[in-house]
């Protein structure tokens, strides 16, 4: 069997070792500058890699559809063997039509919301998730070439999804609202108490720095305050499920259930003009919410 020789010539090896040492020293001495350079250089590589990513995402979607149909058809076959063939055909068609209907409903909701919000927003598709286990992120199929930048807000018609933290020419990485490293300025819609929304390690969210005298309670809705970050005022974030008051603490915090099921989001809108102040409070809860 003919093998590919991965071994490098001795000189190349020495150069590679020196290069690695220089990189290590560089990252220690100039961490942000060097990372900026690598991010810039990586942008076209990200564009190239976005194609296999998109292809793999399409294949995965196809397999998921096929698998969903297969499982459904097995159930039907067990119930009624005589009608199996006919049911297989109909189920397959039905599955495809349902998928198309759900996608249409979702996209219609996004379009309606986009029109109503009067913000400059661009739709994007989710093509992947974080390559590591430390952060909760999604990867979008659009990047710098579509005008996406770091800190831009990402939403669906149901509410806030997260914010962009990294971009390449053709992809963007969105840190989800449920990640503990995310921070979004929010306020309790009923009491007008402001705070910071961050994710939790359990995959939920919490509103920090609520004043002790606040009478926020479970069931209250939390929306973006629009003070900082890439979000206008009034976009839905979640609903308070529990208030935590420590005896000696200066503030209380509220546990939230995010309005968006970030584990199942497929299409999103990226807010490109965060400084445009929409009639936030008038937006309220969107009339049509995507089915997840």
């Amino acid at each position: 069997m003919r093998m590919v020789n991965f071994r490098l010539p001795y000189n190349t090896g020495r150069i590679a070792l020196v290069l690695a040492a220089v990189l290590l020293v560089g990252f220690l001495l100039l961490p942000s500058q060097l990372q900026g350079v690598f991010q810039e250089v990586g942008s076209p590589i990200g564009w190239v890699l976005s194609w296999p990513l998109r292809a793999a995402a399409s294949v995965q979607e196809g397999i998921a559809d096929f698998w969903g149909g297969f499982v459904a058809l097995r159930g039907v076959a067990e119930e009624n063997k005589e009608l199996r063939k006919e049911l297989e055909h109909l189920k397959g068609q039905n599955s495809q039509l349902r998928e198309a209907a759900v996608a249409t409903e979702r996209l219609t909701a996004l379009l309606e919301f986009k029109t109503r919000a009067e913000l400059s927003m661009v739709a994007a598709q989710v093509i992947g998730r974080d390559t590591g286990n430390w952060y909760r992120t999604i990867i979008l199929n659009k990047g710098e070439s579509d005008g996406f930048k770091s800190d831009m807000g990402v939403i669906t018609s149901a509410g806030v999804v997260g914010r962009i933290v990294k971009t390449t020419a053709a992809t963007s990485v969105v840190l989800l609202v449920t990640d503990p490293n995310n921070a979004i300025a929010g306020l309790v819609q009923r009491t007008r108490d402001e705070g910071i929304v961050e994710g939790t390690t359990q995959g939920m969210a919490r509103l920090k720095y609520i004043p002790l005298l606040s009478n926020a309670r479970p069931g209250d809705r939390v929306v973006t305050s629009g003070l900082v970050g890439g979000f206008p005022r009034g976009l839905a974030i979640g609903t308070i499920t529990r208030i935590n008051k420590d005896e000696e603490a200066l503030f209380q915090f509220a546990e939230l259930t995010p309005d968006v099921d970030v584990g199942r989001v497929e299409e999103v809108l990226v807010i490109q003009s965060p400084n445009v102040q929409a009639e936030g409070e008038q937006l309220g809860v969107p009339a049509v919410r995507p089915k997840s």
């Binding site: 490098l8 991010q39 890699l49 990513l53 992947g128 974080d130 990867i139 990294k166």
Partner: protein, 166 residues
């Protein structure tokens, strides 16, 4: 040819890691197949091949993650280099030993990553070990061990290794 093989390997690994593996998460954790690949290439190819693939894979994988570039590059580069050094001094590696080795190296890489990443105050050391490092190390060991066993039992890995080393 070598560059084409490595570029294809990297593109394939990134696609699988970001699209396929998130559907196979157990307790919110998935194996790091980039780390396993770097270990295998380091063991069979040598320390420099491991180092270079580790640096490249760490860099490109971090483009599709919120993690910073330096941590991922340096961790995977170091893992590749150490794997290469280990491969140079080991004549034969049984699958069971490889599993233990991956378990150990994944634990060390995970702990180093936890120390270098600027994580939130909720994500302390205990959380990092319990929620990410330990489960990921177990998954890496299982996935890496299965892959190594496949190579060892089906593809005559010993001949590969001896060919590469001569």
């Amino acid at each position: 040819m070598k560059m084409a093989v490595l570029a294809t390997l990297i593109a394939g690994l990134v696609s699988v890691q970001s699209i396929l593996l998130p559907h196979m998460m157990v307790w919110g954790v998935m194996p790091d197949i980039g780390l396993i690949a770097v270990c295998l290439v380091g063991l069979f190819g040598g320390e420099l091949e491991g180092l270079l693939l580790g640096l490249a894979l760490g860099w490109i994988m971090s483009l599709f993650s919120a993690a910073d570039l330096a941590t991922s590059m340096m961790t995977k580069g170091a893992v590749g280099y150490v794997a290469g050094l280990a491969g140079r001094h080991v004549v034969y590696l049984a699958p069971a030993v490889f599993v233990l080795w991956i378990l150990a190296i994944s634990c060390v890489a995970g702990l180093v990553t936890a120390a270098l990443l600027n994580l939130s105050d909720q994500q302390d050391w205990w959380w990092a070990v319990r929620a990410v490092v330990a489960p990921q190390a177990v998954m890496d060991a299982v996935a890496g061990g299965a892959l190594y066993w496949l190579l060892w039992s089906r593809l005559n890995i010993e001949r590969w290794v001896s060919e590469y080393r001569t």
